[in-house]
């Protein structure tokens, strides 16, 4: 298994896209912090980028990679290797390389400019988001054999989590405006890793005061250690569940 992971990582590095992604992240993070005189503001601008770019690159890069290495996967399957370990090696190879490039691209500037607990949580969440969208990409690409369809599904999933989901939330809020929705909202936010990450970070920044009563209720929950840990657990489930289902499908799939 370790050999396969090593091969996957080397193969990804050779494609140079990941290096470009690292440099892009680094340039953006560095310039965001240099432009803002207030590092908390820098963190806020970086948050938007992190929630936008990291999921997009993770999901598309992983989907393309899985489709492009379909012959390699077939070759591996013909070897005396368990399908489970092949799939998990692909997953860990992809997530390691994306996490490492995020750590170098964004983690280093954050640690340099804002070495506070908030900065560290932001790095943690960036890594989680990278891995979550690798898992989702694996699920999308294992569901269909057609590359175009798979790519379409990956892009749609990203669009759904980044934009459409919030639109639905807004719609629900207006439909049920007469009811106290704070608690259901909390459950609803766990259904979208991007929203959950955004809320966790926002509540730690001083803009949380703008979030009024709703923000205060969220803060009462996410501000506590239990709340924070359960939010991280929810993010963890967003890795485990897609990975589990993709693995189940891959094990029985006729390649």
């Amino acid at each position: 298994m370790r050999k396969v992971v090593k091969y996957v990582i080397l193969d990804i590095l050779r494609s140079k896209i990941i290096i470009g992604y690292t440099i892009l992240l680094f340039l953006i993070s560095f310039s965001v912090f240099s432009l803002e005189d207030n590092t908390a503001k820098g963190l806020l601008s970086l948050l938007n980028l992190e929630l936008f770019i990291v999921p997009l690159v993770s999901i598309i890069f992983s989907t393309i990679y899985i489709y492009n290495s379909s012959e390699f996967i077939e070759l591996l399957v013909s070897q005396p290797l368990k399908r489970k370990s092949i799939w998990l090696s692909l997953f860990s190879g992809l997530s390691t390389s994306l996490v490492v490039s995020f750590l170098i691209g964004s983690g280093l500037p954050i640690l340099y400019f804002e070495p506070s607990p908030t900065g560290i949580i932001m790095i943690l969440i960036g890594c989680m988001l990278s891995v979550i969208f690798v898992a989702i990409a694996l699920l999308a690409s294992v569901l269909t054999r057609d590359k175009a369809k798979g790519m379409g599904m990956a892009i749609f999933l990203w669009l759904y989590f980044a934009i459409i989901f919030d639109g639905l939330v807004l719609f629900l809020l207006f439909q049920f405006a007469d009811y106290p929705l704070e608690k259901p909202m909390m459950a609803l936010s766990a259904l979208n890793p991007i929203d959950l990450s955004r809320i966790i970070i926002l509540l730690r920044l001083d803009v949380s005061a703008l979030m009024g009563y709703t923000g205060a209720i969220f803060k009462d929950f996410f501000g506590t250690t239990t709340g924070f840990i359960s939010a991280l657990l929810a993010l963890g489930l967003w890795i485990a569940i897609p990975l589990y289902f993709s693995l189940r499908i891959f094990r029985k799939k006729d390649l």
């Binding site: 207030n38 806020l44 948050l47 938007n48 929630l51 936008f52 980044a162 934009i163 459409i164 919030d166 639109g167 939330v169 807004l170 809020l173 207006f174 405006a177 929705l181 704070e182 909202m185 936010s189 929203d195 955004r198 809320i199 926002l202 001083d206 803009v207 005061a209 703008l210 979030m211 009024g212 009563y213 709703t214 923000g215 205060a216 969220f218």
Partner: protein, 417 residues
């Protein structure tokens, strides 16, 4: 600096002493071991318009009652201690001056308002250059007229609103001058109720539990060049006509219910040249009429201005808006106010004829701020990608935001203020 100010005090004291002697008034010295070893004894033997000089030391005098016109001067800052039981000085006469003391540990009351210095129905009282430390109320004026409160330092250590009084509390007064005081750690820094024709100038009121300045039913006043920062709820001015607010700084009033300046039922007033820095809401206006808000700077606030639809004839002109999360928030579609000739850092228009005024109108109100006004729970979508997309579309085709709330002449460059 310290030397010269001491020198001035010295000269001032001697000038006063000479002057009182010219008026055929006498000077009484209070010191430990001398004939009059307490201030109360000196007051009892003094005649009207005498001067009492108090030398340094700690005096435990319970409650000092001043019932005749006297000048009482502390030399080398004598300490008057209220032992946490008593009101330290009660002034019940006109033309009293108190300066140069340190007053500490006043009593505490739930029924009566115990203060370090309390003025009862008196005129021409001057309280200056005192340090007031750890008291319930600092300086309390009850029906005072023509009084001056100047250069005092008022510090307390309140933790809860109910357990602490106000720094400078004025009730039913006229013609006051509150100048150059520093107030920290009280409930309200400066409290005005039914106070008219008065001026609050160059005070610093910060880290108070509730308001830096609390202002109610007080017509025809002016507050100028004060600093109000880090107060629990900022500054509140309510039910008042003809109040002038010039060149003040309202900063760092940050929290769920904090406002830089809260205005409620205000009319015919002026808000000019103030700076609003890093407040959750710079100004919150409700029921404000006929009030120009001009040449102010709004920097890095959550909302620069929240203006409710109940406001009328508020003219917001020639202000600078930089780095605010939301420039304007409102709760209705009725707009009876003017927003022209401001500088908005978020303005993206152009100026073809180069007259330094943008050619297309600026809409300072974003769609999201309208949405949260209607549905505050939507705030959990704050800073999501969808919200920024919505705001961009709304800028191009306005539909949800009030049609008339716009700056028709947005300035291309910030005003030099």
């Amino acid at each position: 600096m310290f030397l010269t100010s001491n020198l001035f005090k010295f000269i001032g004291v001697y000038a006063l002493v000479l002057f009182s002697q010219l008026l055929n008034a006498t000077t009484i010295h209070v010191a430990k071991g001398s004939a009059s070893n307490t201030i109360q004894k000196a007051i009892d033997i003094a005649n009207a318009s005498d001067t009492i000089l108090v030398s340094s030391g700690i005096y435990f005098e319970k409650n000092i009652i001043i019932d005749k016109p006297l000048t009482i001067i502390g030399q080398n800052r004598p300490v008057l201690d209220g032992e946490k039981k008593y009101e330290i000085i009660s002034i019940k006469a006109n033309h009293v001056q108190i300066m140069g003391f340190k007053l500490q540990h006043s009593g505490y009351g739930t029924l009566d308002d115990v203060a370090a210095i309390k003025v009862y129905e008196s005129e021409y009282v001057t309280i200056s250059d005192n340090i007031i430390d750890d008291t319930f109320f600092g300086i309390y004026l009850q029906s005072g007229k023509n009084c001056i409160i100047k250069n005092n330092q008022i510090i307390s250590y309140g933790e809860e609103e109910q357990q602490i009084g106000n720094g400078i509390h004025c009730w039913k007064c006229e013609n006051l001058q509150i100048i150059g005081n520093r107030i920290t750690g009280h409930r309200d820094g400066i409290y005005f109720e039914f106070v008219t024709h008065s001026v609050i100038w160059r005070n610093i009121s910060k880290k108070n539990i509730r308001y830096g300045l609390h202002f109610m039913f007080s017509n025809d006043d002016a507050y100028i060049s004060n600093v109000f920062s880090e107060n629990g709820a900022g500054v509140s001015v309510m039910f008042t006509h003809r109040v002038k607010m010039f060149n003040n700084v309202f900063s760092n009033n940050w929290g769920d219910a904090a406002y830089g300046l809260l205005l409620k039922e205000i009319s015919d007033s002026y808000i000019n040249g103030n700076k609003f820095l890093e407040n959750t809401s710079g100004i919150y206006m409700e029921g404000v009429n006929n009030t120009p808000v001009q040449k102010n700077t709004f920097l890095r606030n959550g909302w620069a201005i929240k203006i409710q639809a109940s406001c009328m004839n508020v003219s917001l002109n020639f202000n600078n808006f930089f780095g605010n999360t939301f420039d304007i928030g409102t709760n209705g579609f009725l707009v009876l106010n003017s927003f022209n000739y401001n500088y908005w850092d978020k303005y993206e228009g152009y100026d073809i004829n180069r007259n330094k005024i943008g050619d297309i109108a600026y809409r300072p109100i974003s769609m999201f701020s309208m949405i949260i006004e209607q549905n505050p729970q939507a705030m959990i979508l704050f800073r999501s990608i969808m919200v920024s997309l919505l705001d961009k579309t709304e800028k191009i085709i306005p539909s949800l935001t009030p049609e008339n709330l716009k700056d028709d002449f947005p300035l291309m460059r910030a005003i030099d203020l």
